[in-house]
């Protein structure tokens, strides 16, 4: 069912992102906060596994706190259950820093989000978990949401991180901008810790310099 160019991948967290052609689910609300993406009662875990059960728990289930799916919620409807792209409104992922929000989205199967703007911490968390946050104008997002509403499996959206473009179901191509380092991290599946550890000489030099001017930091 999934339209991934590389075939269906299990919904495990992968750190690489190149291209994706997939069903997109419209969730056109503004200011979707990370408490909505996964409530705090759902993040009492010491691992990243199993968090997708709590994804959008307040909206996805008929009873708040329950596990009976509300058929009215977009991600509970076929074929949006197979969606790998989420379309949403401005300031997506605002609020709490909880990376659990990205882990839950990724485990559920979301590989890319398209929205006009994001909460800063959420945005950074996405890039570190192989989830591509695309920024496009609200008009474009709303237009694409209209296009995917009927027969979503026939109206796939393509996201290409190599070319930095999104192709709408009507074949309109929208270029997007992304920080060069975030792009490389996603394309190569890089681990930022590895990248920074290679700067150890510079970190040591900084500490030596800094110790002289601010000795009280180094007690």
């Amino acid at each position: 069912m999934c339209g991934n160019w590389n075939g269906c991948e299990p919904a495990a967290i992968v750190n690489k992102f190149t291209r994706l052609k997939a069903i997109a689910a419209p969730l056109l609300r503004i200011n979707v906060d990370t408490d909505a993406i996964i409530p705090s009662r759902e993040i009492k875990r010491v691992s990243k596994v199993g968090l997708s059960d709590g994804l959008f728990a307040g909206w996805r289930y008929t009873e708040p706190g329950g596990r009976v799916e509300d058929p009215g919620f977009i991600l509970n409807r076929d074929p949006f259950r197979q969606a790998q792209i989420l379309l949403s409104g401005l300031n997506f992922g605002c609020g709490s820093s909880r990376e659990h929000a990205v882990w839950a989205l990724a485990e559920w199967g979301i590989r890319s989000i398209i929205a006009p703007s994001y909460g800063a911490i959420f945005y950074a968390n996405c890039a570190r978990n192989g989830v591509l946050p695309v920024i496009l104008d609200n008009d474009v997002v709303e237009d694409m949401a209209r296009q995917v509403t009927d027969e979503p499996e026939q109206h796939l959206i393509s996201v290409d991180l190599v070319d930095c473009t999104v192709t709408a179901p009507d074949d309109t191509v929208h270029a997007f901008e992304i920080d060069a380092a975030d792009r490389e991290m996603l394309l190569e599946g890089l681990d930022a810790i590895d990248v920074t550890r290679k700067r150890d000489d510079e970190i040591l030099a900084f500490q030596a310099r800094d110790r002289l001017r601010r000795p009280w930091i180094y007690l």
Binding site: K44, V46, P64, G95, I121, A124, A181, A192, R199
Partner: protein
């Protein structure tokens, strides 16, 4: 060439590797605060890759988010009072700190408390520092002239291993607050009004520097309240230049510099305020003299009105309507006088001595309305002890409120302290998101004064009315 802003001065001093078009800056981190909810996965990453913590001495660890606010002295107590998943997070924190050699302000510690309360209390929060934590309200520490912001768990692992973060330089927004605050109006009302003015996405991409005369009249705790909720306006961090009040607060604290170090530190800190010709990417002003006590009516902190005003008229926006439906409030109607179920005084926004003293003074001689449950949760064990030494606990208890151990508690309802389904809470915390304080909970954010006035009347109330009687 223009002068430098406070932010630029702190930023420039922490550059290990400058940013380029291709790569963000490598920024040195002076203080990493950690707690039990956002670090288990970070420590797991270190263990998987057999990495160690570079600077345990710059890592300050405590337990607050899922920690019970009923007395716990042993792990056996924990099993009794905490849900199993919450207890597992706490046990993981204890084990991880031991494994990696990090001092933990845990159950036995007189300094344990909310991470953003104890950093300043210990004197670990200082002007000019870079401070991060896996918690968005890390912006609190900006009140001292630090650059402080929240990060994710993977970034927390990055800091644990390298003591650095990869960061792009943000834009800077100057917010000038002018005019004196009226009686009954607090720092909480200032920040709620600002978020209402700029919107919850208004500060995206920016660090805010606060300027203006009223700041000089605010103590450190009130300044922390403003910087704490700066994140709710979308900004990454809020900063205020250090002054005499900052120095007075810090002097003599356990982790503040002492002796010759103190003098040298103060000399550096005095140079931190923005130069008169510093340039900002955006400037906003707020007239504080016209402010009234503020309350939220919707499901984000930007949906806020003066307590005497009606809920705005319906804009036709579906998100607006959804929020009003969730809150069970009507467009165009006041919510003053609406019956409430819960009052929560606490959280990293409003749980410090200034807040507790004011709340106690107002509630003294009154009773919490029969229909209301009121919970008072001090921000740290130190605050709890200080409040008890002043007899504040007895004032709260005799008024009918519950007096607890420190922690995040009902702000996010992870530790068993929750607002019940459909219940309406007036809360001094920072987020009124759907379900934030419990499944189906409805939250009205307000100052401690408004919360106390509401607890006494059993309805959403104007604190200035209480003062008149």
């Amino acid at each position: 060439m223009s002068g430098k802003s406070l932010f630029e001065k702190v930023w420039d001093e922490h550059i290990v590797v400058p940013e380029t078009d291709d790569a963000p800056a490598v920024l040195y981190i002076d203080l990493h605060l950690i707690h039990e909810v956002t670090t288990p996965q970070a420590f797991a990453l270190l263990k998987d890759q057999q990495l160690s913590v570079r600077r345990p001495d710059l890592t300050l660890a405590t337990m607050d988010h899922s920690t019970p606010t009923v007395p716990v002295t042993t792990l056996k107590d924990l099993e009794v009072v905490a849900e199993a998943p919450a207890a597992a997070q706490i046990r993981a924190m204890i084990d991880n700190c031991e494994h990696f050699g990090i001092e933990l302000y845990g159950f036995g510690s007189e300094y344990r408390g909310i991470v953003h309360v104890i950093g300043p209390e210990l004197g670990a929060t200082q002007p000019g520092k870079t401070i991060v934590c896996g918690d968005s309200h890390t912006s609190t520490h900006g009140a001292f002239g630090a650059l402080a912001f929240g990060i994710g768990s993977t970034e927390a692992a990055h800091v644990l291993v390298t003591q650095c973060l990869l960061q792009r330089k943000p834009k800077i927004m100057a917010v000038t607050i002018d005019g004196a605050l009226q009686t009954g109006v607090s720092a909480k009302d200032v920040i709620l009004a600002l978020i209402g003015q700029i919107g919850v996405e208004g500060g995206v991409g920016h660090v805010i520097e606060y300027l203006g005369n009223p700041l000089a009249g605010l103590n450190m705790e009130q300044r922390m309240t403003i910087c704490n909720m700066t994140i709710e306006g979308g900004a990454r961090a809020g900063m205020m230049a250090p002054d005499a009040i900052t120095l007075e607060y810090l002097a003599g604290r356990p982790q503040a510099p002492a002796g010759a170090d103190w003098d040298a530190a103060v000399e550096r800190w005095r140079k931190l305020p923005s130069d008169p010709d510093a340039r900002f990417d955006r400037e906003v002003s707020l007239d504080a003299s016209r402010l009234e006590p503020m309350i939220t009516f919707g499901t984000n902190p930007g949906m806020v009105i003066p307590v005497t005003q009606p809920v705005p008229t319906d804009t036709g926006d579906p998100s607006f309507r959804k929020a009003l439906d969730y809150m069970q409030v009507e467009a165009g109607k006041p919510i003053l006088g609406k019956a409430i179920d819960i009052v929560f005084i606490g959280s990293c926004t409003n749980s410090r001595m200034t807040d507790l003293r004011q709340a106690a003074e107002m509630i003294k001689g009154h009773k919490v309305a029969d229909s209301v449950r009121m919970l008072v949760v001090p921000g740290s064990q130190s605050i709890k002890a200080e409040a008890e030494a002043e007899g504040l606990d007895e004032i709260f208890i005799s008024a009918g409120a519950e007096w607890r151990e420190s922690g995040c508690s009902m702000c996010l309802g992870m530790n068993g302290d929750v607002v019940g389904r459909g219940q309406l809470a007036v809360s001094t915390s920072n987020r009124n998101f759907e379900g934030r304080q419990g499944v189906g909970a409805r939250t009205v954010l307000a100052s401690p004064a408004t919360a106390v006035a509401s607890a006494i009347s059993g309805t959403i109330a104007d604190p200035r009315e209480l003062n008149r009687h």
